[in-house]
């Protein structure tokens, strides 16, 4: 579904990501794990073309998206749920969801999806006329995911969904991610610092270490990997 080849990112001449390759297979949950500053968010931002980067190719559904403008990504089926959530704080929950469907033209479809999504996220339904800025961290994360889903994505990119979320809500957010993947058939690319949780909910994982891919494998295999345990799980 998404295939990245030889991606490098530099800030002011300093390289932070050194020619990495990775794939997000169709129908799977793929995770990029890495500590703070490993370059995870930079990678996502460069796929979305929000920052400049260099690569051989970034293929999405067989097409090169290196030149696709960020505001056209949702039109081709890529929704990003960004780091730090990036909601519209002074708009209501309902308005935020509407904005998620901004690029869509099928009014009837949007209306049905809105009802479906509110049913899937009962916490948001209870607060639909509340401003997004007044929600708790976990609720905001759910809203950001719901907003991304309103774009009817084929590929959902979740950047650090556990950021600023209470531990009990982290599991809920991850369960929701798995549910989106399995029930709605959406391919998921997950970026996480919280390796323990992320590995349990993913099919395939890449471990980033200072801008390079150090280890890769299935989520299960990496959970049992000594090196991963030492570095990221603190066992």
């Amino acid at each position: 579904m998404l295939s990245v080849k030889n991606l490098s990112i530099a800030y002011n001449g300093v390289k932070v990501v050194h020619g990495i390759d990775f794939k997000a297979e169709k129908g799977k949950v793929t995770v990029l794990i890495g500590a703070n500053g490993a370059g995870k968010t930079s990678i996502i931002r460069s796929i979305m073309n929000l920052i400049k980067s260099e690569s051989d190719e970034i293929l999405y559904d067989g097409e090169d998206i290196k030149k696709t403008k960020p505001n056209n990504m949702s039109r081709i089926g890529i929704s990003l749920c960004p780091e730090g959530r990036q909601l519209f704080p002074d708009m209501t929950v309902l308005e935020n969801l509407e904005m998620g469907a901004y690029a869509r033209k099928d009014k009837a479809g949007i209306a049905t999806d809105l009802v479906d999504i509110l049913d899937k996220f009962p916490r948001l339904k209870d607060r639909k006329t509340q401003c997004a800025g007044t929600l708790s961290g976990g609720e905001q994360e759910l809203l950001a995911i719901a907003r991304a889903l309103m774009g009817k994505p084929k590929l959902l990119i979740l950047d650090e969904p556990s950021w600023g979320v209470a531990p009990i809500m982290v599991e809920e957010v991850m369960k929701m991610t798995r549910h989106i993947n399995e029930e709605m058939g959406v391919t998921v690319l997950l970026v996480e610092q919280n390796a323990n949780v992320a590995l349990r909910y993913s099919d395939y994982a890449y471990v980033l270490d200072v801008g390079e891919i150090a280890i890769q494998g299935t989520g299960e295999a990496l959970l049992g990997d000594r090196k991963v345990q030492e570095i990221y799980l603190g066992i």
Partner: protein, 288 residues
């Protein structure tokens, strides 16, 4: 005394409407781009001159001339953004600040060399006078209030209920998230500059008929506009409305009770007093 008070309140509402028309434009521009658009006053001035040419020189009816001025100014505003502000969008904020000051100098001096430094007055068709209680008001002044109410109401409806209006609000709250959900933020930017400048053209046309237009008036308009904006809270439309009314009324009531010599002092005095108690302005949030 009472008659005088009604008169001054009425005058305050007229000036308040004028300030609101200016500040609303500044406010939506600031909301979306976070730049101090100091050249806005110059756009208002140009709007006045366009109407002046069409009415006084070409004999076009006032309302039609004002509509033409709105369209031309909208285009002018969009052009300013594309040619002057966009190149420095990702530069440190001080650059946009300096660009804005430069624009003021260029536009004001260009207009002085074309039209001369003298004041011109736009011929107005609104000559009748009405008496409300013991106060007198010309139909031009009533038209100023009416234009402000209609335009601002239309703007609020646009922002609250239309898809494009929501995109404007979204962009002002989070530019990057707007891109992610598929909003073309360049289009949004053009819309706010177009709308803000068209509102400015109305303000310039009406003040030109009520008093006069002259090439250096822009600086003064911008100062007042920002006083209103800061008082009301940067980027807030309700703030611009309440701020405009407060400044319009304070000026006129201050002139009545104290002295008209200090008319312009009152605007800034009230701004400073309000900022002491509410540093983010009346409708300002916790700051961006």
């Amino acid at each position: 005394m009472f008659g005088e008070l009604t008169q001054q309140i009425l005058n305050g509402l007229v000036m308040g409407s004028y300030y609101i028309l200016i500040a609303v434009g500044l406010s939506i521009v600031f909301g979306v781009l976070s730049i101090p658009h100091f050249a806005h006053g110059s756009v208002v001035m140009v709007g006045g001159y366009v109407t002046f040419i069409f009415v006084n020189k070409l004999g076009v009816p006032f309302i039609l001339a004002m509509l033409i001025s709105m369209i031309l100014c909208a285009a002018f505003g969009i052009l300013l953004e594309r040619s002057a502000y966009r190149p420095v969008r990702n530069a440190p904020p001080i650059n946009a600040f300096i660009v804005a000051l430069g624009l003021v100098m260029i536009i004001d001096n260009l207009m002085t060399s074309i039209f001369g430094a003298n004041q011109v007055i736009i011929k107005s068709p609104f000559k009748s006078t009405y008496t409300i209680g013991s106060a007198h008001v010309t139909s031009l002044r009533l038209f100023m209030i009416g234009a402000c109410v209609v335009l601002v109401a239309a703007l609020i409806i646009f922002m609250k209920y239309t898809k494009l209006g929501k995109a404007v609000r979204a962009t002002s709250q989070n530019r990057e998230a707007s891109l992610i959900v598929g909003i073309n933020t360049n289009v949004v930017t053009a819309i706010v500059f177009g709308l803000g400048s068209a509102f400015g053209a109305v303000a310039g046309s009406l003040i030109g008929a009520l008093f006069a237009v002259y090439p250096t008036m822009g600086t003064f308009i911008t100062q007042k506009g920002f006083a209103v904006l800061i008082l009301g809270g940067l980027g807030s439309i309700p703030g611009a409305i309440v701020g405009g009314l407060i400044i319009g009324l304070t000026e006129n009531l201050g002139s009545m009770f104290i002295s008209s010599e200090y008319k312009d002092v009152f605007a800034f005095l009230i701004m400073i007093i309000i900022l002491i108690f509410k540093p983010s302005g009346l409708f300002g949030g916790k700051g961006k």
